[in-house]
Symmetry: C2
């Protein structure tokens, strides 16, 4: 218990640190700093359970629903905005548009989606803390009233409607699409019957995905499965099914589905050349590159930097809370608008890239791939923190960061980072120069705690577009991608930032944007139309 | 920091609780309660990192080395005992045979093996705490002197020699047998090139091991690899390589290595009949059976019962600390003798059963197996805590506890529990009746916290042999074994308790028992003979 308030205090300190250079906090800043989701619920409840536990697409889905709940509660205290179901009929009169009402509604909406599916938000560990948080604020977590003239009722209703959407959004989060009894349900189980064609020991199709062998460092080895193959056919928010289908990138190879013996020589040459570049980058890993590889790996979290002592200076967090909020002095309303739009961009980018990942089913640059290509040949690679490069057999190599459990092509990072930055530039009307310093204290790495960086390092990132470029490049330095994936991810997702903002603009004007409803089966109970 | 002493106090309370019925603590009890490994180092450092993290065979290896380090330090303050290398030349004169000297030597020996290979003991998290523990006792953790006239020197030397053994014991704990550079080493990586013939999606050989699909409940699915296949060809302590080779159990099937289409009908009938019994047991899961299935699953830990509030009432802990120590009022020396012998029995049993598990490569009763046997047929199975039984398709079924990542036949549990009890009966000269009450507080289950048991439950276990029987049966109730494995495990390991005690008796008399050295390559540097 005792640690929670201090985290909230830390967050406020963190947010405040970005404006302290201006000498004083603006009225907008003060309001933003009192918003329940941003400064209370997320840092106190979700930061710790979301950051390290779920895989990236599950994190993105969680962030989407958290921001939707935030929006759907808030919009009823806004003059024009509709909720994500296009509804404006729950709106409250202007006299009730207080920060306290917005916060109360938001906190109930967030609690209802969380308790309806704890596994969607990193697990149930935060539920007790959340309930305590409400009690501390003299709110009753068990008040499930749907009296729509009260903020509690609005929060409950909006949250419970979103919870119903979460059960039918195509992710199988409850496991009920693959199990007939909840006792035997496996949350997020694959609904597409995806099965890799290679094994960790035998590559039959040299260009297709091979499940990587991971281990816990204590003797338990396990083979990755492709995480949520169904994510590419679940809902998107600002893209219709046809929009997503249309977005495609060609394979860099002439026949990437061929088995051994039926390959094009030119394809093998290109793959080998790409693989050698992976080794070259490993041998050229500077401390700065390693810092960025780690920082930009987890889209929610990374180092505990001085700017962000509780450890979430991810690209999305930095741009939203570190750059745009304070530098543009966003109003609370605009902050919420930005928050929903950027998370819709991230989510839709991820859905799109997932569909393509499954379609291309591409092999990662792992030790096994290297062994297949180069046998026992030795290569010079990074030798560990503070150590010179080392020469090892191709098959022994490991990337600097963990290789994630999904197909290689295209890069989800380059797609998602592009979408975040593209959308941010829309928000700034094209203004790009927002210099930002990130200071990594000595030894603050999670991968090599105490060793990396060897001394305190400050990196200055001058432009929003630099974040995009660094994010994409860091995947190559990290060793988890071949080069063609980076540009493919960027191309694939170009324009999604725009469509995300368009969807939010439509909602803001009080009209419906039903794109995500087009993903639902036609026979689904249309609960958002009940009254 | 603050929590550590209270855990140590808890342990002393726990140990004391077993003798409080006698009215007062004996001199032996007082001495046992002051022994560093049992009451300080293990509960404060290793309990938390060993209990839940490593797989069972890695846990058993850790316990073996911890008890060997304890013995090897202590034996130099004993009139006759040799260390595990057969050495008596470091012995100290009788005047130095104080508990404090024994404890000091022990703590350094344990620290040296731990720091040499943190991954062998559940990870490096406890290292800082261990170093602090020494400092609190005014000992310098960085004192690496090997002055053999001091307890520090003796502890360091014995610990470092054991650490050298740990690097060549066949487990590849450092990963150096499979990697040429430590930066790229994967600890405990398989050295035998074991590769399962089935996948989670396709069973080609219906009787052979199929890697099970697990998930973290948050959307990450992963396929188990067979844990440490090399454990069956690493060292044993009281059995020579020939002894282990000789121990075999026949397959319950006529041809368990045949692929589909070349199977014996009678084999399929037997497997189907065994599989139906698994469902029957699932449908008959009483609360008592579920408590025992969970309690006896983790050989180091289980419920936090009233008798053991910090949660290690495993069979080995209960028999050693809960039953034999207090009821036989063991002297400190006898407690250490018992501790080493029982852990040698456990380790050698595990090595033996591992060799057989790899040889039989047998499929587990998982949902996939059930689907293969019964298709979409429905069966009545357990429906969840507080719920009636449910009828589900065969392939949806999951066992009550986690199916461990190793081949099914024979049961390691039945083998290990048999060895523990067999050895305990040697120690008691055949006395079997030691009634013991285990009280499970309401909701103390780790699998169903707050739900199981629905009310406080006290189970009375009357005899040592009951522990053996319950341990074996609990694997069937848990749903992780077919019936023939249980008796096979017991037969396979019969006599290992005896050989373990014989080895310790030989060491105690100051003679060498070099059985484990027979496992080492002949060209290994014989460091234990240096001086």
């Amino acid at each position: 218990m005792a640690k929670f308030p201090s985290v909230a205090v830390l967050l406020i300190t963190f947010l405040a640190s970005f404006v302290s250079s201006n000498g004083q906090r603006s009225q907008n800043t003060i309001e933003r700093d009192q918003q329940a989701y941003t400064t209370l619920v997320y840092p106190r409840i979700f930061d710790s359970i979301l950051v390290d536990r779920p895989e990236t697409p599950v994190q993105f889905r969680a962030l989407l629903y958290l921001n939707l709940a935030n929006w759907n509660a808030w919009c009823n205290y806004h003059p024009t905005a509709a909720d994500s179901f296009g509804r404006t009929r729950f709106k409250r009169p202007l006299s009730e548009h207080t920060l306290q009402n917005k916060n109360t509604a938001t906190m109930y909406a967030l609690l209802r989606i969380y308790e309806s599916s704890p596994q969607s938000f990193g697990g149930a560990d935060g539920l007790g803390g959340y309930r305590n948080l409400l009690r501390e604020l003299n709110l009753d977590p068990d008040d499930r009233s749907q009296n729509m003239s009260t903020p509690v009722g609005i929060g409950n209703r909006e949250g419970m409607d979103l919870a119903r959407l979460m059960k039918i959004d195509g992710w199988n989060a409850q496991g009920d699409e693959t199990s007939s009894d909840p006792q035997y349900a496996q949350f997020f189980a694959d609904t597409t019957s995806y099965a890799p064609v290679n094994t960790p020991w035998r590559i039959t199709f040299p260009f297709r995905w091979q499940p990587l062998l991971e281990n816990n460092g204590l003797g338990f080895f396990f083979r990755q499965e492709h995480v949520v193959p169904q994510a590419g056919s679940g809902i998107a928010m600002s893209l219709s099914p046809a929009d997503v289908r249309r977005r495609r990138v060609p394979s860099p190879y002439r026949n990437s589905f061929a088995p051994f013996g039926r390959l094009f020589r030119s394809d093998i040459r290109v793959l080998s050349s790409n693989a050698k570049k992976v080794f070259q980058r490993s041998a050229q890993l500077t401390e700065e590159k390693r810092l960025l590889a780690e920082l930009l790996d987890n889209k929610l979290s990374g180092f505990r930097t001085k700017e962000n002592p509780f450890g979430t200076p991810s690209i999305g967090v930095v741009i939203r809370f570190g750059i745009l909020g304070p530098r543009l002095d966003l109003s609370l309303d605009n902050e919420i608008i930005y928050g929903l739009a950027t998370n819709i961009a991230v989510f839709d980018a991820m859905v799109t890239v997932w569909k393509e990942k499954l379609r291309h089913d591409a092999i990662r640059p792992t030790g096994q791939t290297m062994k297949m290509l180069f046998g026992d040949r030795k290569f010079e690679v990074w030798g560990g923190p503070g150590k010179p490069n080392t020469r090892i057999r191709a098959g022994e190599w490991l990337p600097y960061i963990r290789t994630m459990p999904h197909s290689e092509y295209p890069s989800a990072s380059s797609c998602v980072c592009r979408s975040i930055v593209e959308h941010a530039l829309i928000f700034t009307n094209g203004r790009d120069d927002f210099p930002f310093n990130l200071t990594f204290p000595k030894g603050s790495s999670k991968i090599y705690p105490g060793q990396v960086p060897s001394e305190e390092v400050t990196l200055t990132i001058n432009r929003l577009t630099d974040w995009d470029r660094l994010c994409a490049q860091s995947r190559l330095d990290a060793g988890v991608h071949f080069e063609p994936s980076i540009e493919a991810g960027r191309q694939l997702c170009s324009g999604i930032g725009r469509s995300a903002q368009d969807t939010v603009d439509t909602l803001l004007s009080g009209k419906s944007d039903f794109k995500f409803l087009k993903w639902l089966p036609t026979d689904v109970e249309r609960f958002w139309e009940e009254d």
